[in-house]
Each structure stands twice: as structure tokens, then as C-alpha cells.
């Protein structure tokens, strides 16, 4: 390996990159954009659920109930409709996610110490949104019932009864239960894949398609040197992107990395290496930019989004796919990110994931090298 050769290749690749403004955009703007988008605009949190009310009862009690519902942070219940048909129109059109129907005689039932049914219809098409809405509704009704019980005991002149058990809930790792706290770190993994694998998947295929691979073959350059030279610019850019992402997450969205900074840099570097080699491998095998790009989306981008425990939990997947996730590098990186960002743990708990990433980086580098050698370098 000659340093000079590697440097020359790296310089050439670097010029390629900065002279094509779109590559540059992909390398720098997309990561910034992703962080901004996810931090500001994209959230899985559910609040202000648009709720329509059909109140057949029309008493002070039902109006108070609705007012309390509207006042809670989770429900936005100021639209009153006349009948259930109108409510179903609202749901059909997607103008409302939930309909609360208070039947006639509701207050009378409550006053007579009977069960007073309350009909709640939720738009189930988005199950995540629906189950959260239902959860909040159940909690709200539970609170109302506790109040009614206290009233009842007061009226009967009995001493107030305490509920025997209360669950003291403490949430760990993500105390405010905000989705950005796990989405913003996860973006780091996506950025690395975009810069590391999607960009590099075009690099060697481009040489083939432009016919410059012949030139490279005739040069006194070895496979390892070519690979190292081509990898260096992308490695640097990816690492800078990671640092920018970490900084922006902290400054703009107060998503703070709790554990060691160097552990994060090490993990990111390892993951970048894996991604780069995957990109090169795809590029060598396909020799066509279009196919390489599609393969990169299929082999690197989608798995890191879908099979990595990032947004979609692995435990919910069919068993076969759960096994598949073991060979997805993103799974280990996401595990490390989760540990460093949310759980504040160190190497003592994360070493298996680090080990797997190291092994993957070595294996992928060797395989890429072998494939490149077979191409006559």
C-alpha cells in the first residue's frame, strides 16, 4: 500500500464529489434536512385528537364533561354535531379522529346511580393513533369515574374511600415520552446509510459505465489502494455529518447524548466502514448505476429503516424476519445509539453490538477487496 497512491485517488474522488453539486447536496444538505424535519415537523406523538361531540343529553353535567375533555391536552373537542350520521360523515372524510356520543338520559342515569353508557367511536385506520387515542380516553374516563365515586360517597355521607392500589408510573430512558428522543438519534443511522452506502454504490459503477475502469486497470494501483482512496472522502463526510447531527440534536432539540462521546464516534466510524464497503460491493457487483442505486435502497436503506428496531419494533415481526434482522448492521448500531442516547450505558452493556460491528466491518472489507481483485486489479 502506498500512501501517495491512496492520497491521489482520494483527491480525485473528492473533486468528483464537490464538483457535482447534487452529490454535495446529498452529502451535506440531506442530513441537515433530515434532522430538521424529524426534529421539528415529524412526530409520532399524539395530542389534540380532533374529536366531534354529539350530545343528546344537553345538561349541565354533560356540558361540564365535554368542557373537561376539551381542556385536556389530548383532546380537541369543540365541534358539536346534531346526530350520529353527521359524526360518521366527519369520520369518513377524515375531519375527525374520534366521535363521542352522549345518549339522552345520560345525566339521569348517573344521578340514579346506574351505569351511564358513553359511545366512543374512533377512526381505527391508523392503529397507532387509534390505540393511543383510546388509551387517553380510557384514562380520562377513569378519572371522571373516580370523581363520580367521590361524589357518590359524599352524598351517602360515607367517609371517602381510597382506591386500594395506585400505580406510581415512572418512565425510564425517555421521561417525557416524546418520539423525537428516539427518532433524532436514529436519524444518525439513516444519514450514514445515505452518505456511506447510497453515494458510494454509484462510485465504482460509474467507472464501469464511463469506461474509466479500463484506465484504472492499466494503472499501477492495487485494489486495496483504490478502495482506501475512494473510501476516505466519503468516510470524512459521513463522520462530519454525524457530528453535525449530534450537535444539532443537542442544540436545537435538546436531545442530549447521555453517555460517552468517544463511544459514539467509535460506533459511528465502525458503522460508516460497514456502510461504505456495502456500497462499494454493490457497485462492483452490479456495474450499473441505476441497478446499484436500487440495490442500495433495497439492501441498505430500507433494512436500516425497517429491520433495525428504529421505529418498528423487532419483537412484532414474524420469526423469520426476526432472524433476518441479526444480519442487518443497522440493528446493532441502533442498539448502540439507543444505549448511548437514552439508557446512558457504556461498553459493559453494549460490547456485543460493538463486537458484531467490528466483525462486520472486517468481513465486508475483505469481501469487497476480494471482489475488486477478481475484477483484475
Amino acid at each position: 500500500m502506498k500512501m501517495l497512491t491512496i492520497r491521489a485517488v482520494a483527491r480525485k474522488e473528492f473533486y468528483h464529489l464537490i464538483r457535482d453539486f447534487r452529490s454535495l447536496y446529498l452529502a451535506f444538505a440531506i442530513p441537515l434536512l433530515l434532522i430538521l424535519l424529524f426534529g421539528y415537523a415529524l412526530s409520532l406523538d399524539v395530542d389534540n385528537i380532533s374529536t366531534v361531540i354529539v350530545d343528546f343529553d344537553r345538561t349541565g353535567v354533560s356540558r361540564d364533561f365535554i368542557r373537561r375533555l376539551d381542556a385536556s391536552a389530548y383532546f380537541d373537542a369543540h365541534v358539536h354535531l346534531r346526530n350520529a350520521d353527521e359524526a360518521s360523515h366527519y369520520l369518513d372524510r377524515g375531519w375527525a379522529r374520534m366521535a363521542v356520543i352522549i345518549p339522552p338520559d345520560w345525566t339521569n342515569s348517573l344521578r340514579a346511580d346506574r351505569e351511564a353508557p358513553l359511545q366512543i367511536i374512533v377512526d381505527g385506520s391508523d392503529p397507532n393513533y387509534a390505540s393511543l387515542s383510546l388509551g387517553y380516553m380510557t384514562q380520562f374516563v377513569g378519572r371522571e369515574n373516580r370523581r363520580l365515586l367521590a361524589d357518590f360517597l359524599n352524598r351517602k355521607g360515607r367517609a371517602s374511600i381510597n382506591p386500594p392500589v395506585a400505580g406510581q408510573i415512572r418512565v425510564w430512558f425517555n421521561e417525557d415520552l416524546e418520539s423525537k428522543n428516539f427518532i433524532v438519534p436514529g436519524i444518525i443511522a439513516i444519514i450514514i446509510i445515505i452518505v456511506g452506502a447510497m453515494l458510494t454504490s454509484l462510485v465504482i459503477a460509474r467507472e464501469y459505465e464511463n469506461g474509466t475502469m479500463e484506465t484504472i486497470r492499466s494503472l499501477p494501483i492495487r485494489a486495496g489502494e483504490l478502495l482506501a482512496g475512494k473510501a476516505i472522502p466519503y468516510f470524512m463526510i459521513a463522520l462530519i455529518d454525524v457530528l453535525v447531527a449530534v450537535l444539532m440534536g443537542q442544540v436545537l432539540f435538546s436531545v442530549t447524548m447521555k453517555s460517552s462521546f468517544w463511544l459514539l464516534v467509535t460506533a459511528s466510524s465502525l458503522y460508516i466502514l460497514v456502510a461504505l464497503n456495502l456500497g462499494f460491493l454493490i457497485s462492483i457487483v452490479t456495474k450499473s448505476q441505476l441497478v446499484a442505486n436500487q440495490m442500495a435502497v433495497l439492501i441498505t436503506y430500507l433494512p436500516s429503516l425497517l429491520l433495525s428496531d428504529f421505529v418498528f419494533p423487532i419483537v412484532n415481526m414474524p420469526t423469520v424476519l426476526q432472524y433476518v434482522t441479526y444480519i442487518v448492521p443497522a440493528r446493532y448500531f441502533i442498539d448502540i445509539l439507543n444505549g448511548l442516547y437514552l439508557r446512558n450505558v457504556g461498553l459493559d452493556m453494549l460490547w456485543p453490538s460493538y463486537l458484531v460491528l467490528i466483525v462486520m466491518a472486517v468481513i465486508f472489507s475483505l469481501v469487497t477487496l476480494v471482489f475488486l481483485k477478481r475484477e483484475g486489479l
Binding site: R22, Y25, I30, L33, L37, Y40, A41, L42, L44, D92, D113, R114, E115, A116, P117, L118, Q119, I120, I121, V122, S125, D126, P127, N128, A130, S131, L132, G135, T138, V141, N145, L148, L149, F152, I161, N162, P163, P164, V165, A166, G167, Q168, I169, N174, S179, N181, F182, L202, R206, E209, S288, Q289, L290, V291, N293, F312, N316, M317, L321, N338
Partner: protein
């Protein structure tokens, strides 16, 4: 315009598309793999909650609480210990979703008529699932309280309570697949048409064969039709295959009208093909075209309501989503699949999709014309 010329160009395009062996897996396998993986993966349903347990009380009452959790089908008690640190380390390793700690004075509090605190530690790293788990745990404790109170206070306790009868419409079992699979269909169509149309033109440019096409008697409009018709056909074929797969493999109920879906696809294709052509006019190389496609798809995907609800976005971005054709197409495809609604409900989406399609397509065609002249 001559039909013959267009037909010949379409034929050439098809031959080119299928002769390249590497294209075939892209056209057939990639969409199916994506549909399968997406279909099986995108589920954030909380079906089981693994519980770690620490019972310091070990009384009849604490066992009753544990049994109430054990009897619930959702909760699965996978670990019980006497050591608080061991329990917390399980949570730290993410081996359990929630940890329940019953304090030693649990029963004394209850006997004295006070409220006994049970500590519930929840892994919040996936915030929404954590919220649902916490709500479930709260519901179990409520049920336990009702049972215990009936035992402790034998006097009449039927106070007037609200009985919330909840009913999810459109997707009664709240299956994630029913929501996501139709959306994937839309997403796949967008990727394929955008990429292949722009590539079809760019390849001619890169290889220099564009010049040859220009000197032929082909007119610009014929060229555009010849370049887009093959991908309309391919997309429609893919769409039909993928929709059939969604219905018969994933058993997604199709509540509405198939023809309405077909009409929506055609309108949607107008926008995506238009964008594909547009990308081909602003890119010189395949690499550029692919990256531009990526820039277009990424925001289109994020701001369509596919995963992230539009209602959660800041107001300004919510307005911007009105420009996104995928937004309307998703509303239509989900409306038709799940809600079974018809044109009477969906006409605003249909008209928006038509307008965007016409604007994008004519603008791109104009630009394309200019480039050829």
C-alpha cells in the same frame, strides 16, 4: 402525431427495458420484496407486554394483583426476583418492557384503608408503545381496585359510573398492516415511475443516442408519449400485481370500489410521470437523476402522512403538504381500502390530484419541448 411512430418507440423502449437482464429483478422482484418486508414489519401494535416482577410484600393481596396481571392476555410475566437491582438491570438491557415493584408495606396500607403505591417502571424508548403499555397497566390496576373494593366494602357500591363503550371503525382489530400495506402500494408506484421515466430519457442523453432520436422524423410530443407509455403500462401492471398481493396475501379488506382505485392510480401517474420527465430535463447524468429522484421522494414520503400524521406537523408544513400528490393518493387509497368511501367523499382529493397532475405534466412537457428544440 403518428400512431405508428409512437408504437415503434414504445416497442423499442420495451425491448430495451427487458433485454437488460439487470432490469428484470428491479421491475418484478424489488416491488414484491418491498411490499413483503414493509407489510410484515410496519407494526407498532402492542400485543404483548413483558413484565418483570418484584414482590416484597408476598401477601394474599399482592398475589392477587400479580394474578390480575397474569390473567390478562397482553401481559406476560417473564421474570420475578427479590432483588431490585437485578430487576432494573433487566429493564436496562431491554429484556422487559415494564417492571412492577410491590413494596413490603403493600398490604398494611390497604388494610388501613389507605392507598398502597405500586411502582411501575416503564421503558420509554419507544414513546408511543410505552404510552400504550402504561395505559394497559393502568387498566389492569383499575380492574384490580374494583375487585378488591367489592371485597373490602361489601355495602352497595353501584354508583352512577360512566361506561365508555369504545368502537374502532374501519379497522376494528387495529391491525397495522391494514393501514400500511395500501400505503406501500402508493409509495412503490411513485419510486418506480419517477426513476424509470427519468432514466429512460437520461440514458439516451448519456449514450448520445438522443441526437439520433432528434434527427428522426419523431416529433417532441411523440417522443414524450413514446417514453412515458411503456412506464404507464409497467406501472399499471405492477400496481395490479401489488394490489392483488395486498388483498390475497395480506388479506387487506378492500371495502370500496376497485375502479375508483384504478382512476386514482391513473391520475397519480400523471404527476409522477410528469416529475420523472422534469427530473430528466434538469439532470445530465444518471447519477444526478437518481439523486434528484431521491430528493423528491424523501420529502414526498415524509410529508404524505404515510407514517407521520400530518396533523402533528407545524402549520406551515401542513400547508405545504397540500402540494404533495402522494398525500391525496394516500388518502384516496386508504379511504377506498379501509373506509370504503366513494367519489362523494373523495372528490376534493380527486380534483386536487387531477389539478396537480395536469400542472406538473404540462409544465414538464413544455420544458422537455424546449430542451429538444
Amino acid at each position: 402525431m403518428r400512431r405508428l411512430r409512437i408504437r415503434e418507440l414504445v416497442r423499442k423502449e420495451f425491448i430495451q427495458l427487458f433485454r437488460d437482464k439487470k432490469n428484470r429483478p428491479l421491475l418484478v422482484i424489488a416491488p414484491l420484496v418491498q411490499l413483503l418486508v414493509f407489510g410484515y414489519v410496519v407494526s407498532t401494535d402492542v400485543r404483548t407486554v413483558t413484565v418483570g416482577l418484584l414482590d416484597h410484600a408476598k401477601t394474599a393481596e399482592s398475589r392477587m394483583l400479580i394474578d390480575t396481571f397474569g390473567a390478562n392476555r397482553t401481559f406476560h410475566i417473564s421474570y420475578a426476583t427479590d432483588n431490585a437491582r437485578a430487576l432494573e438491570s433487566r429493564l436496562l438491557k431491554r429484556e422487559i418492557d415494564i417492571a412492577i415493584k410491590i413494596p413490603p408495606d403493600f398490604t398494611e396500607h390497604i388494610r388501613r384503608g389507605e392507598t398502597a403505591d405500586v411502582q411501575i417502571l416503564a421503558d420509554g424508548s419507544m414513546s408511543n408503545m410505552a404510552t400504550v403499555r402504561i395505559a394497559y397497566a393502568g387498566a389492569v390496576i383499575d380492574r384490580f381496585n374494583e375487585r378488591l373494593m367489592a371485597e373490602l366494602y361489601p355495602m352497595r357500591m353501584d354508583y352512577g359510573r360512566i361506561d365508555a363503550r369504545t368502537r374502532p371503525w374501519y379497522n376494528p382489530n387495529l391491525y397495522s398492516q391494514n393501514y400500511f400495506v395500501p400505503g406501500i402500494v402508493a409509495f412503490l408506484i411513485m419510486i418506480m415511475t419517477l426513476l424509470f421515466t427519468s432514466m429512460a430519457v437520461i440514458k439516451e442523453k448519456e449514450r448520445g443516442t438522443m441526437e439520433q432520436l432528434i434527427v428522426t422524423p419523431l416529433q417532441p410530443s411523440e417522443l414524450i408519449l413514446g417514453k412515458t407509455i411503456p412506464y404507464i403500462i409497467v406501472s399499471l401492471a405492477q400496481m395490479i400485481a401489488v394490489t392483488l398481493f395486498a388483498i390475497f396475501w395480506f388479506n387487506i379488506p378492500l371495502a370500496g370500489n376497485v375502479f375508483l382505485l384504478f382512476l386514482a392510480i391513473c391520475l397519480f401517474l400523471l404527476s409522477t410521470l410528469g416529475m420523472g420527465l422534469f427530473i430528466s430535463t434538469i439532470s445530465a447524468t444518471q447519477q444526478q437523476a437518481m439523486m434528484t429522484t431521491f430528493f423528491v421522494i424523501l420529502p414526498a414520503f415524509m410529508f404524505s402522512g404515510f407514517v407521520f400524521p400530518i396533523a402533528n406537523m407545524p402549520q406551515l408544513i401542513q400547508w405545504l403538504t397540500y402540494l404533495n400528490p402522494l398525500r391525496y393518493f394516500l388518502l384516496i387509497i386508504r379511504g377506498v381500502f379501509l373506509k370504503g368511501v366513494g367519489l362523494d367523499m373523495l372528490w376534493p382529493q380527486f380534483s386536487a390530484l387531477t389539478m396537480i397532475g395536469i400542472v406538473v405534466f404540462t409544465a414538464s412537457v413544455k420544458r422537455f419541448h424546449k430542451r429538444l428544440d
